[in-house]
Structure formats: structure tokens, C-alpha cells
Amino acid sequence: MAHAHPVKRYSGLMDWLTTVDHKKIGILYLIAGGFFFLVGGLEAILIRIQLWKPLNDFVAAHTFNELLTMHGTTMIFLAAMPMIFALMNAIIPLQIGARDVAFPFVNALGFWTFFAGGVLLNVSWFAGGAPDAGWTSYAPLATTTYSSGHGVDFYVIGLQIAGIGTLIGGINFLATIINMRAPGMSFMRMPMFTWAAFITSALILFAFPALTVGLVALMFDRLFGGNFFEVSNGGNAVLWEHIFWIFGHPEVYILILPAFGIISEVISTFSRKRLFGYSSMVFATVLIGFLGFMVWAHHMFTTGLGPVANALFSIATMLIAVPTGIKIFNWLFTMWGGSIKFTTANLFAVGFVPTFVMGGVTGVMLAAAPADFQYHDSYFVVAHFHYVIVGGLILGLFSGLYYWWPKMFGRVLNETIGKICFWTFFLGFHLTFFVQHFLGLMGMPRRVWTYLDGLGFNNLNLISTIGAFLMGIGTIAFLINVVVTSMKPRDAGNDPWEDGRTLEWSIPSPAPEYNFAQTPLVRGYDALWKEKMEGKSGMTPAEPLGSIHMPSPSILPFLMSVGLFIAGFGLMYADGKYDNSFVAFVFNNHIFAGFGLLITFACMFLRSVFDDHGFHIEPDELHDKGVKA
């Protein structure tokens, strides 16, 4: 029955542009996300240089606002989320014993739309000014009346496009985890990272549409004279705050849950011990995801919602400490009685636990509304969220990267450089952000371009800046490590850490194109560990060796996102004044924008009309590695 269709297979650049292989898409996400992390980090360094002494004028005031807006936006949407997607793409199908994700084509599309949006957002630097209204873009500051350049347009349209990519990525993972699990892989046998990815994807699915609407509304106001936030015509500025935070709070759990997942895997592996309290971990994850939607107004305590709302949201927010605490103690007790090996991956994971707790407890402090009247929009909040994001998510990501690097690239990262990387980043991090708590309490507002002398802020800001440089060195150490490692031979075995517990360690590193030559039969939680303990060297296959169906590569996802990029650009410049009458004609009549959309829709049409039959890999083509008769 399997008649192999002739399929064009590309190599080189074309391979990367057309790939629908989740492992390659994972690497693409990693490269793009990593690049944007450096950009966002550079912006952070510039922010810190500006703030290292009082009354500094290293950058101009409006440039500072652009920097801080782009730093926040880039880090959250273009660095953190893609790097999460990188690990999810690279690992989730392997962990559930699947050959592929549910929608390989859509997966590629998700990556390319995110990338198009990210590039569009950063083009703003060269097109007359970046967005400058903060990553929250509160109206009316973000409306044309007060931000007349194109900066915020780039924010609105760039995020819209990137958001589409994220949303379809989330749907893809939900469908993958629900439908593609190997035989025997029941929900309560799924590894914690898969669970975290599952809940994260659900949060994406329900949170991002709210952002979509918010951005559409702001776009309509800015480009088409709408009145959503135009107070003089009956609009409501607070409405934006609500919409943004209905998205925004779940977003922060979208960021942290995958890190929780990573930490669970790493700590359990390197303690050689089963994850303590697995079912309560699952329960806690679900609960955090659910509660995450009910607390958004804690960002708006000072907006004037009134005491009833403030009290309700205070209590609801505090409740999240309970499931999070369950997770913290479960990690500690996973280590308890274990045999802990301090690889770099585990250093990051162990460093994560107390650091995240410090960020989490300041979150609970912020949740007390009357006290938040003091903390809000001060550096205390900056300290809080960098503790949970950098001290939580970024440490988690580093941990995950060191842990899964061999699975992604076939090489184990250098441990010595890894340890230098950890200690500089970790110490730099605490140096940067610990003191910011006190700056905030001492009365320093956030988002300030500069501060006056003699207010007692000088020393702490200087310390903070030094810490930021240390973090920069740590990051550079990681880059060096990547380069150094890539010059070594590809020699990682199936299970380079030797204590691997989950399915991804049962297959070669890097995983072959088809992941599993034979779908494994899962017989319990920690599937591979269970087999190992029973003296087996690998998984029992659930099916005979047969030909493997693969999706064909396609350039359409790339072209579709190019189309969106063009459309976004055209839309933004549709009301411009142009010297050249042809350019004016093309832009002002939405022809340019229409052209972009046309590309996108044409690609959709092609995709729908021409069925993708894919191709087959026959048993004799499989590498002999890891195949059992």
C-alpha cells in the first residue's frame, strides 16, 4: 500500500526554510529566540548603563523609553516564548513517543509568523523610532495623540503577527499531546515537562485571543480613527488595561510553567530519583493554570477599581502561592534521599528553586493591595518580575538547554565553561536584581530615564549595573560554550547522562528524522527508567518494523509569513505622505498591504488544493541504530 511519492528533499538553506521537522523547527526557534535574547540583553545593558549614575545622559529620554519598551517586548515575546517553544518542539514529541507533531506544516507556519513579527518589530529601530509606551502600551500614551510616530504601530502589528504564530503553535502542541501519545502513555504517565507544555499551550490558546483583540482595537484606533481608547469620543483607557492583563497575567504563567517542567525533569534525573509527588505536581500545574485567569486585576490595584475588586483580586492572587509551594517542596523532597549530581544543568535547576521562591514571595507581597499602593510601578516590581522571569524562567531555560543539548545536537556542552557560565550569570543576577527591591522601597519609580542625585539611589544602581555586566559575561560564556562544543565530534550516546528516565533518552542523539523507528510501548511513569530497572536496555516496541510516513517539506509557511510581513508594513504606512506619487499610490490605497495578504491567502489556497501526500521511509533505509526486530 505504501507507494512512495517522489518528494523533493532540500539541503542547505532551503532545507531550513522548508523544513516541517519539529526538531529542526525547534532549532530554528532556538536560534531566533537566542538572537532576540541577545538583542533584548543588549537593550538591558544600555538601560543599566544609563542608570549607573544619577542624572546620566548616555541615551536621550525618548530613546530610553524605546529601549525599555523594546527590552520588555523583545524579551517576553521574542526571546522567552520562542526559547520555550524551542525546547517544546525539540522534546515533547520524543517524550510522548511520537514520530511527529500533530500539524507539522502549521508548526513551521507558527515559527515563521513569529519570526516575521519579531523582525517587523525590530525594524522599527531603523524606521523612525521604536515603540515607546512600555511593553504594556497603556492608552492614551499609546494612541496617536501622544505617540504620533510609527513606533507603536510596529508594536501593534509586529505583536499581532508574532501572536498568531504563538497561538497556532499552542494549538499544535495541545493536539499533539492529546492525540499523538504512544500506546500506554496515559495522561498520568506523561513526563512533567510534557504536562507543563500541555497546560502552557492551553493558557496560550485562551490568553492570546484576548491580546489579539486588544491589539486590533489599538490598531483600529491608531490607523482607522477608532474610538476604543479615545476618551474624548467615549472610549475608555482602563479597558485597555483590562484586556492587556487578561492576556498578560496568564502570559507570565505561560512563561514559568515550562520552566517548572524542565526543573522537574532535571532535578529528578540528576537525583536519580522519581519525581516526588507526581500527581500533586500535575494537580498544582493545572490549578496554577486555572487560577492564572482569575487574578489579572492585581496589576491594576492603583487604577481605582474600588475596594471590593481589590480585595477579591488580592485574595485570589495569594491563593496561587499554595500550588506553587507544593511544587517547590516536591522538588526539594525529590532531592531528599537522592544521589545528586551537580552537572551544569542541575546547578541551574538547583539554583532555580530558592531564587524562584524569592521572586514568588515578593509576588505575594505585591498581592496585598494596600501595600501594592506603595510597591506598584516602583523598582520593587522590577525586582519581583526579574526574580521570577530571569531567576525562574531563564535559569530554567539554561538548565533545559544544558540538559537536552545532546539530544538536540548530539554533543554534550562543555562542563567547565558551563560552570563558569552558571556562576557568573547566577551571581550577576542576584547582584543586579536583589538591590532593586530596596530601590523600589526607597521610592524609586520604574521606567525612569534618570534619577536625581542625593536621593540615596546611587550606590544600589551602580551595583545593579555591575551585576548586569556579569550576566552579560555569563551569557557570552554560554555562546563560547556553544562554539567550542560544536567543534567537537558528535559523540553523545542515547543516554549521555546515564540516568535518563524518559523516552527521549531511549533513542539516538540527535534523534533521527522519524524519532522512533518503532513506536515504543509505554508501561509506566518514567518509561525508560522502568525498563532499565527491569534490566532491559531499551523500550519494547509496540509495532513491527514498517515503512514510516513523513510529511513533505514546504516553502509555503515561509512565504505566508513574508506575506504577513508585507501586509503589516503596508498597513502601517498606508496614510503616509510620500514624495514619489507611485509609492504614494501603492501605499495609500492599501495596495501594498493587499499584495501581502494576497501572498498569504494564495499560499493557503495552494496548501488546501494540493494534498500533501508526504513520503515514506522504508525499513531498509532506517539506520540500524536503536532498531529491534
Binding site: 504512544a182 475608555n236 487578561i246 477599581l305
Partner: protein
């Protein structure tokens, strides 16, 4: 993959129900609910909040009918769609309450 087995098993059961009659009945119901809603408004001079309640109830009944009969949500094997939609509705509900009570004060 994992639910291939159960999916085939379900076939026979589900097919028995599928006749146009059920759908026409559902259709008549939804038309009826719509007519009630429009009539409630056209009647005028009735208590405003009462009408609101009638309208909302009609709308939800209608959605229930359509989702369960026409989108097969009541059928087995629809756990995730059901959970998904219900969670979406819960979120929407909190948002709508927000819009009505807290956006203006």
C-alpha cells in the same frame, strides 16, 4: 493512535441517532427560542431586567442545543472540546462581568 480503537467502536452507536428528524426538531426549537427573544423585545413596556434575563436564557438554551446536537458535543469522545469550550466560556464570563461592572464606576 491511542484512541483509534475506541473511535471505531463508537461508530455504530452514534449512527443510529443520525436522522434528519432530530435536527429538524432542534432547528424548530432554535427558531422558537429566537422568536421568543425577538417577541420579548418587541412587546415593549416590560421590565427591562426581566427582558435581559429572558434574552440571556434564550441565548444560552439556543447555544446548548446547537452545540450538543449540531456540533456533536454531547457525543462521547468530545471531552477535550467540551473542556476547551467550557473553559473559554468561563473566561469570557469573568471578562464580561468585568466589562459591565468595573470598566466604569
Amino acid at each position: 493512535m491511542s484512541n483509534e480503537h475506541s473511535a471505531t467502536e463508537e461508530h455504530a452507536k452514534r449512527h443510529k441517532h443520525e436522522g434528519p428528524r432530530k435536527h429538524i426538531v432542534a432547528f424548530i426549537f432554535s427558531i422558537l427560542l429566537t422568536v421568543i427573544a425577538f417577541a420579548a423585545v418587541s412587546a415593549g413596556e416590560v421590565n427591562q431586567s426581566f427582558i435581559y434575563i429572558v434574552l440571556i436564557v434564550m441565548a444560552f438554551l439556543q447555544v446548548f442545543i446547537q452545540m450538543s446536537f449540531w456540533m456533536h458535543m454531547k457525543d462521547r469522545g468530545h471531552i477535550f472540546p467540551t473542556v476547551g469550550i467550557i473553559f473559554g466560556i468561563v473566561i469570557v464570563f469573568t471578562m464580561v462581568i468585568m466589562a459591565e461592572y468595573w470598566a466604569w464606576w
